[in-house]
Symmetry: C2
Subunit: 471 residues, 2 copies
């Protein structure tokens, strides 16, 4: 009988957690003796719908991957027998046996605000290595950046009230739930319901009861009393299993030790007001109201604009799936290669998919209060006013960067958001933060495009000469 398969990521063989074409290209480079040192940059072509900035996240997991990637004997055996590799020499598979990543990586620290086209991460290494790691890096950075950004919007809408991640059950699998807990904390959440994430990350774990607790007793009042006996200092009661206002009155019977009540359904504005009245009338003004249930930044904003007396928000589905913009289109593009000691700038210019060549840096200008005024994307090493955002994080396969704690990352994100002018944070507005490209970068792009067009025109001519009938 077949055993059920977990499909958990293989600690001992992260090499094959990639797209097949990365490995066919790797084999191709190997067979062609292509030893070029290639530089790839990871960026986002356009900001998604409803987003006027991004909060970079996922670097730590990317660095874990880069320091652990290898190919187990079993997976090499698997690759070897794939028909597509029939003509690939066995030396390539020998090479995979000893594969480790020995490249150099620059990145913006997690919690940094970035915009469209700005490099978030840059990999410089033998082309085979930088090629193989593309898929995993994109997946890791795309997702966490997407969620940290979404969470920061939710936290912004909640003003000073706390936001807690409740999303694991609706995340894209349990592992995505854990990564979402991490990145939503970076985006400003105060805790998570996800115990494993809280344990690993040393962030607050939050939660008390669900409807099933209430249903497991003869009546609601009984269920509340029993819960309070065991959790006297953390009595947060869910009051909407049957009738929310009756639930509020049942909860109030706990007395002064009652900490909070939670509502998860119905008209949260109306209910929160009536519940507040009930609690206040019972002499329980300190008891907090927690709201949850399909919340997002717009609904929270709407509730608070209308004066809903809610103290805390549990946000799940909408935040951990970034529901209004559930995918971030990060790309990872070859910008430069060193061939026989010569640096060759690289770009592509498919329709609507132009990329800029050369190793780039982002220079962020700020006023004397530290408020961000605009960014320039220039060449690395150019003299441009502003703080360069990309820093070295890995050198020849070794991390050369003191990894911040998650609390430090959250602090950095909060601080960065405080310096981002209001129009780029306000919900509903789609202000475009000023990002320009340096003249030198534009000149290099033009020059590179000309060279590549020339190389390809020559080859086009050959084609036409051979096959005039087609043209």
């Amino acid at each position: 009988m077949k055993e059920p398969e977990s499909l958990f990521l293989p600690e001992d063989s992260l090499g094959i957690v990639t797209d097949l074409y990365q490995l066919t290209m790797a084999a191709g480079y190997y067979e062609q003796h292509k030893q070029d040192i290639a530089t790839f940059e990871l960026s986002v072509r356009h900001l998604p719908k409803n987003r006027s900035y991004l909060i970079a996240a996922g670097l730590e997991q990317a660095l874990h991957y880069l320091t652990h990637i290898k190919f187990s004997a079993d997976t090499i055996q698997y690759l070897r027998q794939l028909p597509i590799f029939n003509h690939v020499s066995h030396k390539f598979f020998e090479y995979l046996k000893n594969f480790t990543f020995i490249g150099t990586v620059h990145a913006v620290p997690e919690g940094t605000i970035v915009f469209a086209e700005e490099p978030i991460l840059r990999v410089t290494s033998p082309i085979i290595e930088s090629q193989i790691v593309e898929t995993y890096l994109l997946s890791t950075i795309n997702f966490q950046t997407s969620i940290a950004t979404k969470a920061s919007r939710v936290v912004y809408a909640a003003k000073e009230r706390e936001v807690i991640d409740f999303g694991m059950r609706r995340a894209h699998g349990p592992q995505a739930g854990v990564l979402a807990a991490r990145s939503s904390f970076i985006g400003g959440c105060k805790g998570t319901s996800n115990v494993f994430a809280a344990y690993k990350l040393d962030i607050p774990a939050v939660g008390t009861i669900a409807h099933s607790w209430v249903m497991a007793f003869e009546n609601e009042q009984d269920s509340f009393r029993k819960f309070h006996e065991i959790f006297p200092d953390n009595t947060i009661l869910l009051i909407d299993t049957y009738d929310t206002l009756a639930g509020a009155r049942h909860a109030a019977l706990i007395g002064k030790k009652l900490k909070s009540v939670r509502i998860d359904s119905g008209d949260l504005l109306k209910l929160s007001r009536e519940i507040r009245k009930i609690l206040d009338a019972e002499g329980l003004p300190h008891v907090k109201i927690v709201a949850s249930g399909d919340l997002n930044e717009e609904r929270i904003d709407d509730l608070l604009q209308n004066g809903a007396p809610i103290d805390s928000f549990g946000v799940g589905t909408e935040m951990v799936t970034s529901k209004d913009a559930p995918a971030l289109g990060g790309i990872y593009k070859l910008v430069e290669r060193e061939h026989n000691g010569k640096t060759i700038p690289m770009m592509k210019f498919s329709e609507e998919k132009l990329t800029y060549p050369c190793r780039k840096q982002v220079y962020r200008a700020a006023d004397k209060n530290g408020n961000f005024m605009g960014d320039v994307i220039g060449l690395e090493g150019e003299t441009i006013d502003g703080t360069p955002l990309l820093i070295p994080v890995m050198k020849e396969g070794k991390i050369c960067y003191d990894l911040p704690t998650i609390h430090e990352i959250q602090g950095a994100a909060t601080d960065n958001l405080a310096h981002l002018p209001e129009p780029f944070k306000r919900l509903g507005e789609d202000g475009t933060y000023p990002v320009t490209k340096s003249q030198e970068l534009e000149a290099r792009r033009q020059e590179t495009e000309n060279i590549i067009r020339n190389n390809n025109i020559v080859s086009n001519r050959d084609t036409s000469a051979n096959k005039t009938s087609v043209v």
Copy 2:
């Protein structure tokens, strides 16, 4: 210096991959000596936008979890020191040390078509166990069901042309990419670019080159020739790095051995037509055209309605994030408990969140050709025409079900879709497949609601009596 953390799921401590409230409730049940055997059912309250059916998926990973869940000593130590557990006796933590899941599980096989409110999975076990496993089960079933369903729509739109999963880089982290590869195969995809998923699942791995390969050579023609040398039998060339039609001509120079060309940008309808002409004029009518680039079921349908000569579709972002409906609202609700040998039906009736009590079964009626005519949700054991969908998959913690291969699951899904009448599959239509509830189930619901209202009205009266000022 801090080591980077992978946040991979802990094989040895899946117990804490859950929401904190599951563990506080577990502690509460333990302290209250609540030994009730509880039955929970997992279902989807409403179908998401643009969906008129769901394809159940994720059961195998759910069963892996249920057969492996435990708590490591370290994680128990962590829980013990959380302030919320201050008043919980150390016996509960001793209990967690030996925790395994010994429940009984019924489920619809993966690949089964299900509709709103139909139980997909049912867990019967001591209430502590069935409570703890809620979050992980929801996350697993929600995500895979969501993607299998989305993929089936994409495959439907592609008619007989093959659809390949290209989504890993845009999935919600690399692990979500692997689960998406699995569930999109269940939904009818013919392969995946994801090597690890292909390896583990024994499904076709697909892929050849990216733009970086083309850019790594002096010119496109050279890059194509070099690739063909190493992969003579699998020469699929990406032709849109610089100029797509020139790319098609360069690819044609490979001659008869060229297998396919791929386009990833631009106007796919116009380009595919012109490329077809170029290839045909070159005497290469057998060379296939593969299209990719932000495709979904609507765009594929549109291309094919307009006669685009595309033979194969690579679909990523939109499919693996189920972008138009990125979250599935699965719920897991207590429907029954056994208390001192007596079975007590359970339900909740918060506003808009009514659930039905009792162990249920779905009975699917079909005509003599096997075409589905309608479902009845009734009580388990009721005599109702139609095939019961839920089957036993686990008994007292042991799998009692011969797990099908992924190919068998795909076959079942394909077969089920073939028997689902056309109006419920057609894109853009929102036909509602007939699902009714048995009279007996409705009667039990009414009866249960009356009993619970009665229990709670009594307690409301007590409240009012004590606190008349509030009411």
